[in-house]
Symmetry: C2
C-alpha cells in the first residue's frame, strides 16, 4: 500500500506498520514524545483519503477527529491513503540555538588562568635517512629520534605502524608526529604539510546536540553546529531511551543516530572553513550519564534500575575510530567524567565553567534541561542531586507544549480585569504552541490574576469564557484561530507544578543535607536550555526557584558545552573536571522519604509554606 | 570453458586465465616455486583432451611434451579440456613434521632456570555488590577492588568495558580478571568458570607453519600442528612473496593466507582437547622479518631494497583481534623481535633456545631453512648475517628437487666401481624426487667417486651410462621407471654449490669479522628443516659446514618454535629474547666485496683452499 502526501511524495507502507513507523522509515520524523505509544498525542496527521484502522484516538478532540486528524502511531492504513502532515507535528532539526561568543570563551579560559595545553601535542623531527651502516628499522629510527628529544615510551598502534614506512619515505624523513599527553602516537605526516590544529567540543543533550569547532592553537571558536538529538524519534527523555536501548538492536540504533548527528553537524563546518578531517586532533564529549553511555555503545540498562549504577563514570581515553566519528580514527576523545547515574559529565563540565568550585562562596548550580540537576558547594565541597523534573519545559507531556523554536508562545501577560492574554511568539508568526518560558509566565500570571488557586486548579467563579472543559478536563484557552486552539489544561498545570516542585525540593533537600539555610547561598547559577530567556521573577512566583534577590542569579546558558570547550584546551582544566566529578557527593533522591516530603510541600503555588517566598507573599497581598 | 579432472571434478575457467590460476581459484594448489612464471617447471599437468594455447614449455623434455605434459602456468585452454594432475605436482599440505617432546621442552625451560610467568595473569575478585549508598560505577568498583590488591593502572579497552556490566551481574560480583603484564585487561569472567590457561607458540616459516598449544600453568606441550605455509602458492622464497605483497591486494592476500593456516591448524587442536578459544590467553609469534611483517599486514617492500630496512623490529604488544586470530580478540601477541631485514625473530628465538647467549664458549649457530642465517657469539657479544642460500635444499630450483616428504630420496650411496646408486626413499615407496639431504649425499658421493670434479662438473671419462645429456645439459640419472626419470643435472649441482658456498662464506666472513679462526669455535648448533637428518660428514665433504670435529655439532631442529615456546612461558626469557635481538650486530653481506671473495672461493668442492678441509683432503687421498 502507498501513502500519498500533500507535498506530492508517495511512500510505501508495509503490512502491520503504523503510519508513524512508515514515515520514520522514509526519513520523515514526527514529534513522538511518548515513543509511539498513543499517549502524547503529538504525531497528528490529517487523513484526506483512504481507509485506515485506528487503534486509538488518544486525547484527540471529537472536533479534531471530525476533520480527519489521527495519531500516526495509532493509524494502520487498509488501502492507499492521502494525508497532510501539519507543521507542528514535524520534528524540526538543524535549528540554531543561542551560542557563546568566541571572545567570551577565550576570556573565560584566561580568567581560569589556564595555559593552552590540548590533549594532542606535536613534534617535528628530522630523521637521518637509513644507510647500509645505520640500518635500524623505521620505527626504531623514529623512536631513537624521539628519545634524543626526551620523548620515551610513545606507543604506536598497529594502524599507525602500517603507514609509517610510506610516510617516512614520502616525507624524505622530515616528519611531524602527533601524540597524546598519555603518550599514544596518533599520526605521522610530512613536516610542513601538517595543517592547523583543531578540536571538537561536543555536548550531547537529551534534546539537543551542540558542537564547537575550536582552534587549538589560540582557543578561537571557529564555528558552531547544533541540532536536535535524533534519538528523539525514540522518546523524549532518558528513560524512554534506556528502555529502547535494551530492546534488540536498540542500543546500536540510538548510538548510530547520535553519532550521525555529530558527523552531520561537522561536515558543513569543515567544508565552510576548508579544514581537513585529519587536522581535528582531539574531541571532548560531555553529556548526561545515559547519553554518554549510549554514545560509547554501553548498555545503560542498570542506570534505570535500583541501585542505579552506571557502567562507568571515568572513561578511558578512547578514540574517534571506536566512536565512529569521521575524523582521524586515532584522535583521542576525552569524555568529561560523570558523577552518578543521573548526574553526568554535563554537570561536571557546567560546574567547571561556572568556576564555583574555585570560590569559597557557597553557590547553587541548577541545570534545567530535559532533566533537572542541582549542585551546591564551593571550593571545598560539592554535593549534587538530580530531580526527575521531566522534559515538560521542553514541551513534552504538555498538550500544546513545544520547544522554544519558531511559533512558540514564549511570554504571556494576562489582563487582571478581562483575563485576556497577550503574548509574544518566537518569529512573530502564527502561534503553534507554548514553550517553557511561556508556560512559567502563563501559570504565574494565572495565579496572580486569580484564575488558578494555590493548587493550580481553575477557580470556576472567574468570569471568563476562556476557562472551559476539553477532552482532558478543564483548560484555559490562550489562542484560537481556524479551528486550531492553544490551551493550557489543568493536567498541563499539574505536570508543570510537578516539575517545578521536583526542582525546588531538590534545592531544599540539598540545603538541608549540608545544614545550610537559603541565606547561606551567595550565588545561583542557572544553566540549561532556558538560557537567558528565563524570567527569574516569574520562576520565583511559580516556586521553581528559591526566593532570593535577583542579583544573586547568573545565567550560564549551555554550561556543559562551555566546560567541554575548556577541557579541549587545557590539561589543568581536564584535571579539574576530574576532581569536580570525583569530589562531588551524589544524593540519590528517588529513594528518599525526605525528598518526597519536600516535593509534596512544593506542589503548591509557590509553596505550602508561604514564608519561604516573602516576595511572592508581598506581591499577592497587593 | 570447463576443466575436467580425472578425479571426476569439473571446474570453470575464465577467459585469459591460466590453468594454474583456475586451479588455484578452485582451491587446487600446484607446486609453483617460481610463482607461475614458467621457470621452475614444477606445475606439470597432463593434457588428455582438448585444445590449449601453450605460451611456453619451460624446461620440459620433448619426451614429456609428447605424452601431453604441460606447465599449468603456461597453459591457456581454448576449449573444454580434460586433464590429469600427477601427484608430484600437487602442493602437499597438513603434513606432520618432526616435533619436540613435551618433556624435553619442560626440561629446557628448567635448565634455563626460568620461572613460569606467562604474559597474562589472573586475579579473582569478590566485589561488594552495589547499594544505594555504595553506588560507584561498575568499572570504578572493579578498579577499587584491584587497588586494594595493589593493582593500579590496569587499562580497560572499549570492547571489554562494553561487556562488564553484564558479566559482573551474571557472576554475582565474583569474577576472574585476566590482564597482561603490561597492565591491559583482556577478559572478565565469572570466578570458577575460568578454564585452564593456554598459550599458542607459532613459528611462521617461509615454507612451514608450526603451532604449539601449551598449558601455561605447567608448561606442558598439549599438542602440535604443522602445515606448509599457504603463501607458497605465490612463490617459494621471501623475495617472490615481497614482490607479490607489493602488488595491489597482494599483501592482504598473503596475510590472510598465513592467518588462515594458523586458524586452520588451531581448530582441530582445540576440538581434540575440548579447549575454549577464550582460554587461549596469549600468543608468541616468531618468523623471519618478512614473514613477521606479512603476518602483521605491514608492507615488506623496503626489506628488499637497499639499504634493506624493515618497518619494525621490536613489535608492540598487539592483539589477536588485530591479527585476526580466532581466539579472545584481546589476547596479547608477543612477537619475538627481529634483528634486521634478513635476520628475524626466528633467529633470536633460535639463539635463545640454544642457550649460546648464556655461555662464555664461542659458538656458531646455523639455521638452514628456506634461507640461511648464521650467528656467532657467546654471552658477551653476538654477530649475525644472512646468506642468500635460497630454498634449493627444500627442492626449489632443482629439477627433481622436493621437500623431505613421502617419496623423497633422502640418502644415496654410489658404488665407486659401478657408479650405480642405492638410495632410501621416505615412506619406502616409489621415489618422486630428491630432497635436501639426498642432494648433499648425492653430490658428496659423486665427488668422492670421481663422477664430478671440484667444480661440480661431470667428468666425461667416467664409464657409466648414467651420465647423459638432457634438455638442461649434462645430468646424472639416479632413477628411471615408466618414463619417469629422476636426475641431478649439472645446473642443479651448480645451484647446490651456490647455496653451500653462501653458507660457508657467511660463516667464514663472520669469523674474520670478529677476528677468530675456526679453532675458536667450541660448538656448532644446526637449526632448521634438516633437523637430525643432516649427515654432518657429507655436509663437510660438500664444504657446506666447516671441517670441525663431529662432536662439536648439535642439532636443534626447529629452534625457532622452541624459542617461541620459551617466550610463551617466561617473562625473563621474553626479556632475554629482546636482549639477544638488540645486542646482535647485523652484518649485511649482500653489499660486501669480501663476502663475494669468500663466496667464490667456496664454490668448489669442498673449497678452493683444501687446507681448510683437512678431513676431506685425507678422505680423497685414500
Amino acid at each position: 500500500m502507498d501513502i500519498k502526501l500533500t507535498t506530492g511524495r508517495t511512500l510505501h507502507i508495509l503490512e502491520e506498520e503504523s503510519l508513524l513507523q512508515a514515515l520514520k522509515r522514509h526519513g520523515i520524523y514526527l514529534v513522538a514524545s511518548c515513543g509511539g505509544k498513543g499517549i502524547c498525542s503529538k504525531c497528528r496527521v490529517r487523513l484526506l483519503e483512504g481507509k485506515s484502522k485506528i487503534a486509538s484516538t488518544g486525547k484527540l478532540e471529537p472536533r479534531e477527529i471530525k476533520t480527519g486528524i489521527t495519531l500516526a502511531c495509532q493509524t494502520f492504513p487498509e488501502e492507499d491513503i492521502f494525508i497532510d502532515i501539519p507543521k507542528e507535528s514535524k520534528l524540526v532539526v538543524g535549528e540554531k540555538i543561542a551560542i557563546s561568543k568566541s571572545t567570551d570563551l577565550i576570556e573565560l579560559l584566561h580568567s581560569l588562568e589556564a595555559e593552552i595545553s590540548p590533549i594532542v601535542k606535536r613534534i617535528t623531527l628530522n630523521l637521518p635517512p637509513p644507510t647500509i651502516h645505520d640500518n635500524i628499522s623505521d620505527l626504531e629510527r623514529l623512536k631513537r629520534s624521539l628519545e634524543e628529544r626526551d620523548l620515551i615510551g610513545i606507543r604506536f598502534s598497529h594502524g599507525l605502524v602500517s603507514s609509517i614506512s610510506k610516510v617516512l619515505r614520502e616525507a624524505e624523513w622530515k616528519i611531524t608526529l602527533r601524540y597524546t599527553d598519555s603518550h599514544d602516537a596518533i599520526s605521522i605526516s610530512p613536516a610542513g604539510m601538517d595543517g592547523d590544529r583543531y578540536g571538537l567540543a561536543v555536548d550531547i543533550g537529551t534534546t539537543t546536540v551542540v558542537i564547537y569547532l575550536v582552534n587549538l592553537t589560540d582557543g578561537r571558536l571557529i564555528d558552531v553546529g547544533s541540532t536536535y538529538n535524533s534519538q528523539m524519534r525514540y522518546g523524549d527523555d532518558v528513560i524512554t531511551r534506556i528502555i529502547y536501548a535494551t530492546e534488540s538492536g536498540g542500543l546500536d540504533e540510538l548510538r548510530d543516530s547520535v553519532v550521525s548527528d555529530i558527523n552531520d553537524l561537522l561536515a558543513p563546518l569543515i567544508e565552510r572553513h576548508s579544514i581537513s578531517r585529519k587536522d581535528i586532533e582531539s574531541v571532548v564529549i560531555t553529556g548526561n550519564t545515559t547519553m554518554t553511555h549510549i554514545f560509547w555503545g554501553l548498555n545503560p540498562a542498570h542506570i534505570r534500575e535500583e541501585p542505579y549504577i552506571p557502567t562507568i563514570n571515568f572513561f578511558p581515553r578512547w578514540n574517534a575510530g571506536t566512536a565512529k566519528l569521521k575524523i582521524n580514527p586515532l584522535s583521542p576523545i576525552y569524555t568529561v567524567p560523570c558523577v552518578a547515574s543521573y548526574v553526568g559529565g554535563d554537570i561536571a563540565a557546567g560546574v567547571l565553567s561556572s568556576k564555583l568550585h574555585r570560590s569559597p562562596e557557597i553557590a547553587l548550580f541548577i541545570d534545567i534541561g530535559t532533566n533537572g540537576e542541582i549542585v551546591i558547594g564551593n571550593n571545598e565541597w560539592l554535593m549534587a542531586a538530580a530531580c526527575s523534573a521531566g522534559p515538560c519545559f521542553e514541551g513534552s507531556g504538555i498538550k500544546h507544549g513545544m520547544r522554544a523554536t519558531e511559533g512558540a508562545i514564549e511570554s504571556i501577560k494576562i489582563d487582571p480585569e478581562t483575563f485576556e492574554p497577550v503574548f509574544n511568539v518566537i518569529g512573530n508568526g502564527q502561534p503553534m504552541g507554548i514553550c517553557g518560558s511561556g508556560m512559567i509566565d502563563a501559570i504565574s500570571e494565572m495565579f496572580l490574576t486569580g484564575i488558578i488557586d494555590q493548587k493550580g486548579k481553575f477557580i470556576r467563579e472567574v468570569k471568563t469564557g476562556r476557562i472551559r472543559n476539553g477532552v482532558d478536563g478543564p483548560e484555559f484557552l490562550i489562542f484560537s484561530r481556524d479551528g486550531r486552539d492553544i490551551v493550557l489544561t489543568e493536567v498541563d498545570i499539574e505536570n508543570i507544578l510537578r516539575a517545578k516542585a521536583a526542582i525546588y525540593a531538590g534545592v531544599s533537600l540539598l540545603l538541608k543535607e549540608v545544614g545550610f539555610g537559603l541565606d547561606a547561598i551567595e550565588r545561583v547559577y542557572i544553566a540549561g536550555g532556558f538560557g537567558n530567556y528565563l524570567n527569574v521573577d516569574r520562576a520565583i512566583i511559580l516556586g521553581m526557584l528559591p526566593d532570593l534577590p535577583k542579583d544573586k542569579f547568573s545565567f550560564l546558558g549551555n554550561a556543559s558545552i562551555t566546560g567541554a570547550y575548556l577541557c579541549l584546551l587545557s590539561k589543568e582544566l581536564r584535571k579539574e573536571a576530574g576532581i569536580i566529578a570525583s569530589k562531588m557527593t551524589y544524593l540519590e533522591l528517588s529513594v528518599s522519604k525526605r525528598f518526597m516530603d519536600e516535593y509534596i510541600s512544593a506542589l503548591f503555588l509557590p509553596h505550602t509554606h508561604m514564608r519561604l517566598f516573602p516576595t511572592v507573599k508581598k506581591l499577592l497581598s497587593k
